[in-house]
């Protein structure tokens, strides 16, 4: 027990405490002058960093993108995963092992690598997809400012749908076979079994997957960071996580630990509120 707790304190609790502490400070140069000069010292600035984050247009624009992403990408992915799991579980197809593995395989590709591959597949010069669509008379620019968010969402969906599908498939396969037999004797059709027997049994798994996905998309970073290499339209503060990273790296001003930790804390609070709101709504719907 002890080793885990020690590591847990070191890796989780201490950074949280440190983040809160340092979010009240900013690094300023002693010695004055417009360009600083002299030593960098930590100066207590009270709630200044939080005021900066909360009044920052860039932060809320990034948050807006991420929330839009959450509202569209997460349900699409979960519903697709659920539908695939249901189809595989439906006994229509006999040998599901190949499908199961094929759907899950993208999860083995690291997010950065997946993003690089897709960025190339969005590239009009080399992508057979873009060329093929153009041959059909459909010209898409996957990097245009209206589409780029959807292009990113596609990468996330590609990577994680199979993972969620496997979770649902496991839940479906844990349903006792007798339940289906009983439903059949009562004259239920396949469709009715799917809706009234299978769906209620994967509710718990779906709630958890949904929550995890919401928390995951709030921290969206890999996909936009990689796409930035191909699309200068993606700014340093395109998502809040990118903003926190670039603030810490000094690419955005005010820079340093204090402001970037303040961004991280505000993000964590928003993620927590969202997760709570989702769990609350889910419970309310459940009761009715």
């Amino acid at each position: 027990m002890l080793p885990f707790v020690l590591l847990f304190l070191l890796v989780f609790i201490f950074p949280i405490v440190y983040a809160i502490y340092s979010s009240f400070f900013q690094q300023v140069a002693t010695g004055g002058g417009a360009y600083g000069g002299g030593e960098l010292v930590n100066k207590f600035v009270g709630l200044e960093n939080f005021k900066y984050v909360i009044t920052s247009g860039a932060f809320w624009a990034g948050m807006g993108r991420v929330l839009l992403y959450t509202v569209i990408q997460v349900p699409v992915m979960i519903i697709a995963a659920l539908a695939l799991a249901m189809l595989l579980d439906s006994m229509v197809v006999k040998h599901i092992a190949g499908f199961r593995l094929g759907y899950f395989l993208p999860y083995a590709i690291p997010g950065v690598i997946a993003s690089i591959i897709w960025v190339y597949l969005y590239n009009g010069q080399i992508s057979p997809i873009v060329k093929g669509l153009a041959a059909l008379g459909i010209n898409v620019d996957f990097f245009s400012s209206n589409v780029v968010l959807a292009s990113m969402a596609n990468i996330t969906t590609w990577t994680f749908t199979g993972y969620n599908m496997l979770i649902f498939l496991s839940a479906l396969q844990a349903i006792p076979h007798e339940l289906y037999e009983a439903a059949r004797i009562d004259g239920a059709t396949n469709w009715q079994i799917a809706i009234h027997v299978k769906l209620p049994n994967v509710r718990g798994a779906a709630l958890l997957a949904m929550l995890m996905s919401i928390v995951g998309t709030i921290q969206l970073f890999n996909e936009p960071q990689v796409m930035q290499t191909a699309d200068p339209g993606i700014s340093y503060s395109y998502t809040p996580m990118m903003m926190a990273y670039n603030t810490s790296r000094g690419f955005l001003s005010p820079k340093g630990d204090g402001p970037s930790n303040a961004i991280a804390i505000v993000m964590a609070v928003i993620a927590g509120l969202l997760a709570m709101a989702y769990a609350f709504v889910e419970r309310k719907v459940n009761e009715e």
């Binding site: 080793p3 810490s248 997760a275």
Partner: protein, 335 residues
């Protein structure tokens, strides 16, 4: 014994006894439910009443949907394989769906791109892969052992503050983990441990999900009677844990190890923030560094690097599929 047995309906059933006995016990333990489900599915496929059988139309539609999604998931990987054999001009000029050169010249094309890849990475490529292997296996190994210890302790012993400890760790599971990277970097920077291997390994050693799995398995597969019997026989707690419990939890440990290994392999932000020396990079970060160079245009060579860089994980996936599914199943049932 290789003869196939048949079930009452005449369908061949794989003979379970064909597997060596010891292996069988190891593989079956928490996985038997899933395996049974597979078997039931195969056995009952043909004995549905006529009215319940899927009609031709719905069967065809289902298969079309499943195959179309399969193509969606596998196409990028297929394209990456094709692209990894091409030069920049072949990438823009040739058919994107097939090799640009005749199959007989393929080995040369591959060798060329391989040389290009090593050139771009300044001969660091295999070093990066080695780094990734090192980071992932060391942190997964340490993480698995501490997770199982903690899971076992909370499952089988009572101590003060146990409830709140479990609560906090579970809450951490829902915490956006990448947010922690920013203060973690500040701390490692302050103690001058940034830009070292430890800066990547230590944060990756802790997995609330690993703890959760360890706890679930310890609850379900370590019988209290066995522990009591061992205590009566005079075995100390440490001895019980290392000689008995670890053996019982071996399948669970494989699962936890896999999840942590892949999590570390795929982690991008942590090495991006912590490491500045190119020779410490994991393969993901190294390849990202190549892409972000303004002058970089050898996309085919990069695709080759990407494929070789994910190969170890793919092998783990293929070889240990059952353990993946077992881990995900535990998550779904408990959730």
């Amino acid at each position: 014994m290789t003869s196939t047995t048949r079930d009452p309906l005449g369908n061949p059933v794989k003979d379970e006894l064909a597997e060596p006995k010891r292996l069988r016990r190891f593989w079956r333990n928490p996985w038997s439910a899933e395996r049974r489900a597979d078997r039931i599915r195969e056995r009952h496929e043909n004995d549905l009443p006529r009215s319940m059988r899927a009609s031709k139309v719905s069967k065809t539609v289902t298969i079309i949907i499943l195959v179309a999604t399969l193509i969606y998931f596998l196409f990028p990987i297929f394209w990456a394989v094709i692209a990894s054999t091409k030069t920049p001009s072949q990438l823009t000029g040739s058919n994107g769906l097939w090799f640009a050169v005749p199959l007989s010249q393929l080995p040369d094309a591959i060798a060329n791109n391989y040389a290009t890849l090593l050139g771009w990475t300044r001969e660091n490529f295999w070093r990066w892969v080695g780094n990734s292997l090192l980071y992932s296996s060391v942190s997964a190994l340490i993480g698995t052992i501490v997770s199982v210890m903690a899971g076992y302790a909370t499952a089988k012993f009572n101590f003060r503050g146990k409830g709140i400890t479990i609560g906090v760790i579970m809450a951490a599971m829902l915490m956006p983990a990448t947010l922690l990277t920013i203060p973690q970097y500040a701390i490692f920077n302050a103690i001058h441990l940034d830009n070292t291997m430890l800066a990547v390994i230590i944060p990756c050693c802790v997995s609330p999900f690993g703890f959760f799995l360890g706890r679930v398995y310890a609850q379900s597969s370590v019988p209290n009677e066995l522990l009591e019997a061992a205590r009566i026989d005079g075995a100390g707690e440490a001895r019980i844990f290392f000689t008995m419990v670890l053996r019982l939890l071996a399948p669970a440990m494989v699962t936890i190890f896999l999840f942590m290994f892949v999590a570390t392999w795929n982690n991008f932000l942590l090495p991006l923030m912590m490491l500045s020396s190119e020779n410490l990079y994991p393969v993901t970060l190294g390849l990202y560094g190549m892409v972000s160079l303004a002058t970089f245009n050898d996309r085919g060579a990069l695709m080759m690097g990407a494929l070789m860089g994910v190969l170890p994980v793919i092998i783990l996936f293929l070889a240990l599929q059952r353990f993946w599914r077992a881990g995900l199943a535990a998550g779904s049932v408990k959730g």
